[in-house]
């Protein structure tokens, strides 16, 4: 088991390196970093020349790449193109907020999704099952940004009608959030709607797949054997059925991580959460390549970590693959 983990860890490193290469060359080649700036009339040639010098933009790309990697690892991603602002402090703060959002959403989606899936499988063709199926199909069909907007409308109207704020519809914290528990609750109230918006689609996915996985497993021969031994149905479900049914969900959750990040970008935009997503949009709007690359690099690393965790979990759950 330990060798399995180590092997997977080792394998991730070349992937990260490869990702950095692709990100750098990819972003550098889609556009001239200074393209946007050149079109602005109030940017002088001197400023442009300074930037070229600072960022060594007159060097060949591979050299720039190495410089970038150096900046990234030793100087925390260096500075932005315009304004020479250090990237890392902003990015780190944004990252922290986004992590709260994404992890909470993923956990929520997994718990509810798996639960719904298991129950739907046990009560196949019941009203409950059809209801869950409908929720899932809706989940596949509703754009996150629209769902987020609708949530905003609903809860703003609730506030207007009743005068009480259940959940906030924008921002990360109130102006005076207090400390400790008060702060936590305030943060929760602000993040609740974004979390719901983000979790909904993943939830639909997980419940569908869990249902189908459970159905396969529930009719499996070894479940029949377990019953023939005299086990209680709850034990059969827990120890035999679920353990096997969860295996594909683990891979799914990892693969879904990339989608979650995309969802976070949108959700943060709608709810004005100053997370990575907002950071990225701003960089994108300004066509500032360095924060863009930093963002892509960080998120890719997180996705790779998520896949790693999934692989390890998979190995833990399914002993058949441990030896390969």
């Amino acid at each position: 088991m330990v060798t399995f983990i180590l092997r997977r860890l080792l394998f991730s490193i070349p992937v990260i390196v490869l990702a950095s290469v692709v990100i750098f060359f990819g972003v550098s080649s889609v556009g001239d970093p200074l393209g946007e700036l050149r079109t602005r009339p109030n940017v002088s040639q001197v400023t442009l020349d300074n930037i070229v010098e600072r960022k060594a933009l007159d060097q060949p790309l591979p050299a720039q790449y190495l410089l970038w990697v150096q900046e990234a690892t030793t100087n925390r991603f260096g500075t932005t193109l315009l304004g020479d602002r250090p990237i890392w402090p902003d990015l780190r703060r944004a990252l922290w907020f986004t992590l709260q959002l994404v992890i909470a959403a993923e956990v929520l989606a997994l718990i509810i999704g798996i639960g719904l899936g298991v129950l739907s499988a046990k009560r196949q063709y019941s009203v409950f099952d059809y209801a869950t199926t409908t929720i899932s199909f809706l989940g596949y069909s509703i754009p996150i940004f629209w769902f987020a907007l609708i949530l905003q409308v609903i809860f703003t109207n609730i506030y207007r009608a009743t005068g009480t704020r259940i959940f906030y519809t924008a921002g990360l914290s109130s102006t005076n959030p207090g400390t400790g528990l008060e702060f936590f609750i305030d943060r929760l109230q602000h993040l609740a709607l974004p979390i719901i918006a983000l979790a909904y689609i993943s939830l639909a996915l997980y419940s569908r797949y869990m249902r189908s996985s459970m159905l396969e497993v529930i009719n499996a021969d070894y479940v029949r054997t377990a019953r023939a031994k005299g086990l209680r149905e709850t034990l059969v479900t827990r120890k035999h059925a679920m353990r096997n049914a969860l295996i594909p969900i683990v891979t799914l959750a990892a693969l879904n991580f990339g989608a979650l990040i995309g969802g976070a970008i949108v959700t943060e935009a709608v709810f004005s959460i100053p997370g990575m997503g907002s950071y990225f949009i701003r960089a994108l709007t300004a066509r500032d390549v360095y924060p863009i690359m930093a963002f892509l690099m960080i998120t890719t690393i997180f996705i790779i970590i998520a896949n790693l965790v999934a692989d390890i979990l998979y190995g833990y759950l399914d002993p058949r693959i441990r030896n390969e």
């Binding site: 029949r224 005299g230 120890k239 096997n244």
Partner: protein
């Protein structure tokens, strides 16, 4: 008169499918006596597996349903027991061995733990060490080499024969009074089959359990069974001891089965399969379900109108055919017809 260990009486089990109601078990009755091996033989779809699954009440409730009948075991009707009481019987008083050991064992759980589970369910006082000792001992009894190491292995690390042995170990763990083996050798190679049957015999000897051996393989029946139940279309069509069934079958279907079997003691070069298809269990033929394929029917209306009961055709021998007395001559005819064909075809008779 010895009391049967298990007595199935007029069992009816149905399944509701989108195409209609399937009567998988259609008024089936048979007994199993202590210490004997009862062979249950029949085609796929004859109801032999559904019957025993109904005995253990392992039929999935939608779409299946045990409609009526009694299953008497240990003085009680199993069909009337509560779920809890039934669970106490499963794996302890009555144990079952399934067909495909690869899929019948949980792939992500150690084999030893699965055997241990069978023990622990019925003896919760048992601690980890006790479970391990007993499970390793069971593995040893069924002939798994290095049982102590094998305890910690997973099903995919076992060979097919060993897996089936592990299944048998699981089944005999609690010294059941009745062992049900549902096609235990069908998924295995022929050489392994013999081994597994041997293990089954040992298991039987050690536990003194009565055994129901379900198979479609007549060779296995001839080897292992004391008595035989022949099933067709959800019904029992013949019952008797193994010698009688093989030498003097009294139901045209049984005759057909025997004739489909390659035999060393006759001169036949050809097999005579039973023409036609097994009956649709949704739309059973009226009267005797076998009549559309029966050579003995000869256009007689009775076969189409009256469902034949199990007639007594000899001591401890019953067959569900209105014309069971004519069956011995049927057999000769069949062999003659084949012989005639051979002569006409220019081959040796």
């Amino acid at each position: 008169m010895v009391e049967p260990v298990l007595s199935i009486r007029n069992l009816v089990t149905e399944f509701t499918t989108p195409d209609g109601v399937v009567r998988a078990v259609n008024d089936v009755s048979y007994d199993v006596y202590p210490g004997e091996t009862l062979g249950v033989v029949g085609e796929s779809g004859s109801g032999k597996s559904v019957t025993v699954m109904s005995v253990l009440r392992l039929i999935p409730q939608p779409p299946g349903r045990i409609v009526s009948g009694e299953v008497l075991f240990g003085g009680r009707d199993l069909l009337q027991l509560s779920d809890r009481e039934m669970r106490r019987i499963r794996g302890k008083e009555i144990a079952m061995i399934f067909q495909d050991p690869m899929t019948s064992l949980n792939p992500v759980m150690k084999v030893g733990r699965q055997i241990g589970e069978a023990l622990r369910v019925h003896d919760p006082e048992l601690d980890d060490d006790g479970v391990r000792t007993r499970a390793v001992d069971l593995l040893d009894q069924v002939g798994v080499p290095n049982p102590s190491d094998r305890f910690d292995q997973y099903p995919h690390q076992y060979s097919g024969g060993m897996r089936q042995r592990a299944m048998i170990a699981m089944a005999i763990a609690n010294q059941p009074k009745l062992l049900i083996a549902d096609e235990p050798t069908t998924a295995l190679d022929v050489t392994i089959q013999a081994q597994v049957l041997g293990v089954l015999n040992t298991a039987r000897d050690q536990t003194q359990a009565a055994t129901i051996l379900i198979t479609h393989d007549l060779g296995v029946i001839a080897e292992e069974a004391d008595r035989v139940v022949v099933m067709y279309g959800g019904k029992v069509v013949e019952v008797g001891d193994v010698h009688t069934i093989f030498n003097d079958p009294r139901h045209p279907y049984t005759v057909g089965l025997m004739s489909s079997l390659p035999r060393l003691d006759t001169d036949l070069d050809r097999l005579a399969p039973i023409g036609g298809q097994p009956p649709s269990l949704i739309n059973l033929p009226p009267g005797c379900s076998f009549h559309p394929r029966c050579r003995l029917m000869r256009g007689r209306e009775r076969c189409r109108t009256d469902v034949p009961p199990l007639y007594d055709t000899g001591p401890e021998h019953r067959a569900a055919c209105h014309f069971h007395e004519e069956v011995p001559t049927l057999r000769e005819e069949v062999e003659q017809v084949i012989g005639a064909e051979l002569t006409a075809g220019g081959s040796q008779a």
